[in-house]
């Protein structure tokens, strides 16, 4: 009898506790969705929304800026370049991150809705190198060849199809494609620039979880090819020169070639504001473009602005 009631009590406690924990966890989930709440006090918040490619860089800047100016809190959110610019249009963002130029249509809409001109700042560059093993005799590649290797519509799967027949240390002829996990900005940009926006990656690539891992793996695998930020090169890999199409000059990836726009897999990264930025925001933008701010461009794997 006593045993029985205790059992019942037990079952009920389990049920209640389960529900309680469930509710707790749900509660946590909801809070995340709404975004962190702004700290109280005299702090000025800046809504900084936009490009997913730039979100890591923007977050690194925002964090470091906390030590530079304690009265300003930069709230970084991703969503895509379009989301950021849309934020400027309807006033939910004060600073938009964009990895593409603002469109004329968007400029006109901003003028019409808020009577403001979009102001553009180039804050850094995103450039990807194509890496192969150091013993691979290949030195150059075209964008078309890359598309055929990586894209779902491409048919290139063997090195011999690219005219490479003897890679020292390589076993077999297969091209081992090294790529990134599907939600990284690098993956997105490579897809956009090389594979094609309407195309998909060929499945079966080795999707590494970091820029450094890609280069590390290519360095250990004679049959491999991979893409990653320019700053990750090491002695066991080689960066290929890239041409836009067959017949065009092959350009070696470098900071200079990124700045003069001759290297094909590179793009500038922008900040946009609606009209002249407020003084505290102007101060932030100037800081990101200063030598101090540009340090973070390099440390997050992008190409900094030309030195003044």
């Amino acid at each position: 009898m006593t045993m029985n009631t205790q059992m019942q009590w037990g079952v009920r406690t389990v049920a209640v506790a389960t529900v309680a924990i469930g509710v707790l966890l749900t509660g946590c989930g909801k809070k995340d969705e709404a975004g962190g709440t702004a700290p109280a006090g005299k702090k000025t918040n800046v809504a900084n929304i936009g490009s997913d490619t730039m979100v890591n860089l923007a977050a690194a800047w925002a964090e470091a800026y906390g030590a530079v100016d304690k009265t300003v809190v930069i709230e970084v959110n991703g969503g895509g370049s379009g989301v950021g610019i849309k934020g400027l249009l309807n006033g939910t963002a004060e600073l938009a991150n964009s990895s593409r130029h603002i469109e004329d249509k968007e400029k006109a809409e901003l003028k019409e809705k808020r009577q403001l001109d979009a102001k553009e700042y180039v804050v850094g560059f995103d450039a990807l190198s194509i890496y192969v093993h150091k013993d691979n005799p290949m030195n150059e590649i075209t964008m078309e060849q890359l598309r055929d290797i990586y894209g779902a519509t491409g048919t290139t799967t063997k090195w011999s199809e690219l005219g490479i027949t003897a890679i020292p240390g390589a076993k077999g002829d297969e091209i081992i494609r090294v790529s990134r996990q599907n939600n990284s900005g690098t993956y997105e940009y490579f897809k956009e620039a090389v594979v094609g926006k309407k195309n998909e990656f060929k499945l079966g690539s080795l999707d590494m979880n970091g820029s450094k891992d890609v280069v590390e793996l290519v360095g250990k695998t004679p049959n491999a090819i991979g893409y990653s930020g320019m700053g990750y090169a090491n002695p066991s890999v080689k960066m290929l020169k890239v041409a836009k199409k067959k017949g065009d000059p092959y350009i070696a990836p470098s900071i200079a070639a990124t700045h003069d726009k001759s290297y094909p897999i590179a793009r500038p990264m922008f900040f946009y504001t609606a009209g002249e930025p407020a003084p505290h925001l102007k101060k932030y933008i100037d800081w990101t473009m200063s030598d101090d701010g540009q340090k973070y461009v390099e440390s997050t794997g992008y190409v900094p602005l030309p030195k003044k």
Partner: protein
């Protein structure tokens, strides 16, 4: 359970009964309650976690094509044209890595357990046990790094295959990671066999090997099975090492030297940067539910096997 001390019936035999103070009784109750809570907390947490994981993934169930989900090998969740959520290749990846890891680990693990428990004494035994426990203390990121940068070139050179991060590489790492668990659990199981069994065996003229094979293994089989299953659990759930060493490629392997991708590694690699509540996010939680179910089935099967053995 706790009855009040019964009143003494006959006054003639009256002996003063020591009664506990209110505080002591209350204290007893509180401690009892706390211990009880500790006991059931595991159940509460398991259900709570399952509830949470399921809740996050559930909104996608309505839109989910189950046939595609389980059997398609096309995992393209971030496509801007037509996202595809097929986890067939990932399930095959998880199962193949785990199976191969167990094929390598079970003979080594149980062999080592038998050696440590039955054939080895004194200093050797102590040293071996300490070293094996040390093996268990290596973090999985370190294992992954070893797979990526040490084993991968070796595999290319030794087996003449084009890529070194693959099913075999990850299975080797998982085997090395689950062996220590199997050894310590297996050794405990063998130690629990009463010495009288050993003495009886020797008295009947059995050799050492006959003793192990005919007496100890059958006597300790429940414990040994539990040791193996703990190893399986370790292998299925492992994330970081397999993320780095499998090659993380959406691919159904033709040979043990093909790169694969596991369910756990997919969640680890993709969940961090997925926006909250998006279909991709929800599908990743559904993968969590699938993993949960696989582990549940493994444990349940183990339970039935153990019960079956007991009945015999």
């Amino acid at each position: 359970m706790s009855k009040e001390p019964t009143e003494v019936l006959s006054p003639a035999l009256a002996v003063p009964i020591a009664r506990r103070g209110q505080a002591a009784v209350l204290g007893e109750r509180v401690i009892e309650g706390l211990v009880y809570l500790c006991g059931i907390s595991a159940i509460v947490f398991v259900f709570g976690i399952f509830f949470f994981v399921f809740k996050e993934g559930a909104p996608f169930l309505a839109k989910l094509d189950f046939k595609e989900f389980f059997f398609s090998k096309e995992w393209i969740p971030t496509s801007s044209v037509q996202p595809k959520y097929g986890i067939g290749a990932l399930i095959v990846g998880t199962l193949s890595v785990t199976t191969l890891a167990m094929v390598i680990a079970v003979p080594f693990g149980l062999g080592a357990a038998i050696f440590v428990s039955e054939f080895c004494t004194g200093k050797t035994k102590e040293t071996l046990k300490i070293v094996i426990e040390l093996l268990a203390a290596i973090p999985s990121v370190v294992w992954g790094f070893i797979g990526l940068s040490v084993m991968s070139p070796v595999i290319i050179a030794v087996f003449h295959v084009p890529v070194g991060v693959n099913l075999f590489n990850a299975a080797m790492l998982l085997a090395l990671m689950s062996v220590p668990i199997m050894v310590s659990m297996g050794e405990d199981a063998l130690k629990a066999v009463p010495d009288s069994y050993r003495e009886a065996g020797i008295a009947l003229g059995a050799t050492r090997w006959q003793l192990v094979y005919r007496v100890l293994l059958p006597a300790a089989k429940n414990g040994l099975l539990a040791a193996v299953l703990l190893g399986v659990g370790r292998a299925i759930g492992e994330t970081m090492a397999v993320l780095m060493a499998t090659g993380h490629a959406v691919n159904i392997p033709d040979s043990i030297f093909d790169p694969v991708r596991t369910l756990t590694a997919t969640i680890a690699a993709e969940l961090g940067e997925t926006s909250h509540g998006s279909p991709h996010y929800q599908v990743l939680f559904l993968i969590g539910v699938v993993l949960f179910s696989i582990t549940f089935v493994v444990n349940l099967a183990a339970d039935f096997i153990v019960k079956g053995i007991k009945r015999k």
